[in-house]
Assembly symmetry: none
Homo-oligomer: 125 residues x 4
DNA sequence: GTGGTCTAGACCACC
DNA sequence: GTGGTCTAGACCACG
């Protein structure tokens, strides 16, 4: 479980956990059907309460990333490549459309956008 | 005052107002020194309380977009083109870097990103 | 009437007028019994409404700086040197005690205060 | 939380709270990272609405005195001595320069000023 | 439990 | 008329 939490960030803790696990599944860092650590273990490792971890797990289950088997633990769902592609699309689409609208509303043109993206992608490598 | 509020959106009302007015000033839709409608007028038009309007106005003043004269009203600040460019940069930069990090964490490559942007820019025209 | 108004300042206009005229009387720039310009004249010169000028005049009269003679105009009151000393004391005392309390609450010591004052008095000459 | 509110004072409640908390942090009466009471607790203790308390907290956060963690509470920021010195300077400088200008406009000389300060500092001890 | 936001109404100072 | 501040109450998200 490679999870890094940030306090300076205003993103809620449960969301940070959700995003990072979802990303790891989408990227294939965690493979289908592999077991996830127990909620309490994660909470202890991250030195936080179990509540946000539980909320993240619930969200992951709701979105089909993981499945819980009572008494046995939680496991990454059985995902086909097309499942993963679909989920990846889902996670990018919503935020992206919000952002694009925002940038367009500021009068950012397509070419300016392209330039900004390139710059950031290169800058941060 | 072209302001459109969304309830389905989880963005707070005052932030929606702030973003839209700031965008209008940045785009030049509202010119320097022109008066803004009274906060109570805006509140009435949008059928909301004065509080979120007031909060938006306060934020706009804090960021130098407008200036308030008690008893006289609020006015767009006197902004030079470079002022505007600076504010535009400020409003895009922070959000963008957050977003880029998010997309990269999902394993989105540079070319995929470019593709997504193009698609959205074209799609929504 | 040497009056300079500031919009950037959050001090109300009527108070700015009041303060400046009172200061001119205290300093002796305007002598006892000399006539003040008509309210409308001042308003026109300062390019503001008559209302704040009127409020300033009322405050000046209330504090004994000027007296109004209906149909004849307003005049600086007849002030003895000790009257002036008293008024000067009045205008400094209230603000000063507020300020001192504020600076003391921030843990500013007497010697620090002295140093700051010296610095500002010299700096701004 | 030693906060004393004044009704006779024309300073808004939220400003009084802000000033006093900021002063306590600057003086070191409240140490870095220590928790502040819940805004609703403070509101109840002071027998006022949560609004002015919230506004004070927001201003304190904006100025870097405290940091808020939703669901956990608010805490004094982690401040180095030089941070504190900087904030102290900031809070004194602006007000002082305003005051000095005011007193100078009344014809108060440097030596008179010094005398007044001494008198007040001694008087109120 | 915590903070974040909003409503509906009120009173005040300033122009 | 304008903005500035406050109350008393409510509902929500987060931990």
């Amino acid at each position: 479980m490679d999870i890094v939490l940030s306090n300076t960030n205003d993103t809620p803790i449960y969301k940070q956990i959700y995003d990072q696990i979802a990303a790891q599944i989408i990227r294939g860092d965690i493979s289908s059907d592999s077991p996830l650590p127990a909620i309490r273990t994660v909470a202890a490792e991250l030195k936080i309460s179990v509540i946000p971890v539980k909320r993240a797990w619930e969200a992951l289950e709701r979105e089909g990333f993981i499945r819980t088997m009572v008494g046995k633990g939680t496991f990454v769902a059985t995902l086909t490549p097309s499942d993963i592609a679909g989920k990846r699309h889902l996670m990018t689409y919503e935020q992206l459309s919000k952002d694009i609208l925002f940038y367009k509303s500021l009068g950012i043109t397509y070419s300016e956008m392209m330039e900004l993206i390139s710059k950031h992608y290169i800058e941060e490598e």
